[in-house]
Amino acid sequence: MANMSESEEAPVMTAASEAGSSLRGPFLWLLGPATVWLWVATILALLGSLKLVDPRFLGAWGWLTFGRISPAAFLSFVYGFGVPVGLSAALWAVTKGGRLPLLGRRWCLATSFLWNVGLWGGITGVLAGESRSLSWLGLPTFSLPSLGLAYLLSAGWLVAALVSQWEKTSLASRFLLLGLVWIPWAGGAAALMLHDPAVRGVAVGSLEWWFNDGLLYAGLGAFALGIVYLLVPVSLGRPVAFSGLGRIAFWAWALFANLAGTAHLVGGPFPLWMVSLGVSSRFLLWVAAVAVGVGFWVAARGGAAEKGDWDPSWHFLRFGMSSLLVAAGLGALLALPAWSRYVHYTVLEEAQLILFLYGFLGMTFFSLLYTLLPRVLGRPWPSPTLAKAHFLLSSYGISFLVGLLAAGGLFQGVGLDDPDLPIHEVIVSLLPFLRSAAAPATALLAAHAVFGLHLLWLVVESGSSRRVEEEAALAGSAREGVRTP
């Protein structure tokens, strides 16, 4: 896949659209609810942002308090949107972009049903006050069996399919395999340990942060990098350059993503070696991201997408890669003790997280959706203007949101470091930044609404054209005297 040339890619477009009907159901089962979760996440995030404008807004209901909707927003985005899109990327890879028949259609349906039931229960539980406040491990216990079973149903045969169709040169397969395997491995281990009464004390904190960074980098980050390696040949007609460097980057990513979490624990009640391991791993993850980024930009220089029409997939992909390089660099620099003194526990760290989540993961996932859905549904996106509006609203929304939080975080950090300045005054000085952030958050909500409506339009159009084709086929076969069902 990674070394597909332009001439190899062209027939795929035709073959893929022919295979659309067999893939239509599984992808829509996964991606339809994912789009709904994206809206849920964005609406909750916007509500959280408005609560910082006026904390009394919707303040009478406990289930809408800031401390519940803020984690619910992040969990909805990661588990509701991120994981199903990651599974879709793997599905896309094992069917060779829709050319191969799909054997696991029922598994996909079962996965979608169980996953969404579990997640609705989980997010409702978080809003109802059933969370243990453990960041990405914050979903209530009762939702975990359904989520675990749902994931294993699909990931099991996707791993088997990736391994059986292994392409030696494919870096996409490697990254997708990492994402597929890491989430159940680490999620299962973490969930079991957290329910063991013997596990207590600060080890719970290091377990939490091992999982947090692992999920972002080795889980969803690996899915996103797999998508980069899948889509660059499609968009540019050439693979990501320096595949040897890419292989080294993959192994660095797989190892250091598992060790980076303790960078968050600078200054905490942990031995120095743990924190140093986390900080140095963050730097090595940045190096791995730069290695992939160099190959990406070399491939992009003079690529087909730069010369042709406005290609939404390529623009989302390019924004995603730029965000990765900045977010990974920022993640490393902020963890340095010299910086950490000022920026730890400030909204600057929140800005880095949002850049990684919405800038890298979100935009890369949208890039896949803009490539995949027209082929699966057999129709092009109905409106290039809506695609462009989605991109512009998203990119400006993310940029301003991250910029405002980063600037506010610097003021907050300097204020927090001054012991004579009461904390209350520090936070009051931060408020203009937090309140201004409601505007880009609204732009992001608008962007996701535009995408949802555009997707709905595409599904409706593809459905009506399918009916016309079926009716035409039916009429033709009736004329020929063939018995019709």
């Binding site: 609560k51 910082l52 904390p55 009394r56 303040g59 009478a60 308090t65 800031f66 401390g67 519940r68 803020s70 984690p71 969370s131 243990r132 406040s133 453990l134 960041s135 391994v163 395999l177 395997v181 890491w182 491995w185 680490a186 281990a189 973490a190 013997a198 207590r200 004390g201 600060v202 719970v204 904190g205 290091s206 091992w210 692992g214 080795a218 190892l255 993503a257 598992n258 060790l259 624990l265 600078v266 200054g267 905490g268 009640p269 942990f270 031995p271 391991l277 003790p337 950490s340 730890h344 526990y345 400030t346 907050q412 001054d418 012991p419 009461p422 904390i423 936070i427 009051v428 408020l431």
Partner: protein, 197 residues
């Protein structure tokens, strides 16, 4: 062994290394070696810890005191020394926190000892800190009929917050548990130079 199997094994090993170093070793080296002298926390404070987690207090408050070279936590009077692993050894929920939109609470039970102050803050934070972004937790309180003299825990409210005549506002079980938890947070003994935020 074929290449895909080698890659798969490599992924499992890489994840295993992370688990070994950041989960298993801390559990062995930093976990509870022997029961603490004070025993495990129990009663209302434990329930309050769950209320603290359920309402996402850790979204805005930390519970960790950093050493002087890594922040002004000690100079602010949030604790007399940096936090140590032993102070958390009996806890199943360790809310170290991610963001400081409010003060650190590792030692808040030493700084603020009056339950009524907490009730007042939780019911309407703006009466304690005007302009704060802290949300109100009045859903943890109940409005009950006033029969004779007000109950000892009843809040004295005026203006818009005042209950209708013949009623009083009292903390509900979750508010009482949360305040019991906050009062129990005495991880680091306060030094003589400590300040109150």
């Amino acid at each position: 062994m074929t290449e895909p199997k080698r890659v798969l094994l490599g992924i499992l090993l890489a994840t295993g290394v992370g688990w070994l170093l950041l989960v298993w070793m801390p559990l062995r080296k930093l976990g509870p070696i022997r029961p603490s002298a004070d025993g495990a926390p129990f009663g209302r404070a434990v329930i309050g810890g769950k209320v603290y987690a359920a309402n996402g207090c850790a979204s805005c408050h930390t519970q960790v005191i950093r050493p002087p070279n890594l922040g002004s936590d000690i100079a602010r009077g949030w604790g007399a020394r940096r936090s140590l692993p032993v102070e958390y050894q009996e806890e199943h929920i360790v809310p170290l926190g991610v963001l400081r939109l409010g003060p650190d609470l590792a030692d808040v039970g030493e700084r603020r000892t009056e339950p009524h102050w907490y009730y007042r803050l939780l019911y309407d934070p703006r009466t304690v800190y005007p302009g704060t972004v802290m949300p109100s937790y009045r859903y943890l309180f109940s409005r009950v009929p006033l029969l004779g003299s007000p109950l000892p825990d009843a809040l004295s409210l005026s203006g818009r917050d005042a209950p209708p005549p013949g009623f009083q506002v009292v903390p509900g079980p979750k508010a009482r548990a949360l305040v019991a938890y906050l009062l129990s947070l005495k991880r680091v003994p306060l030094g003589e130079t400590g300040k109150t935020p």
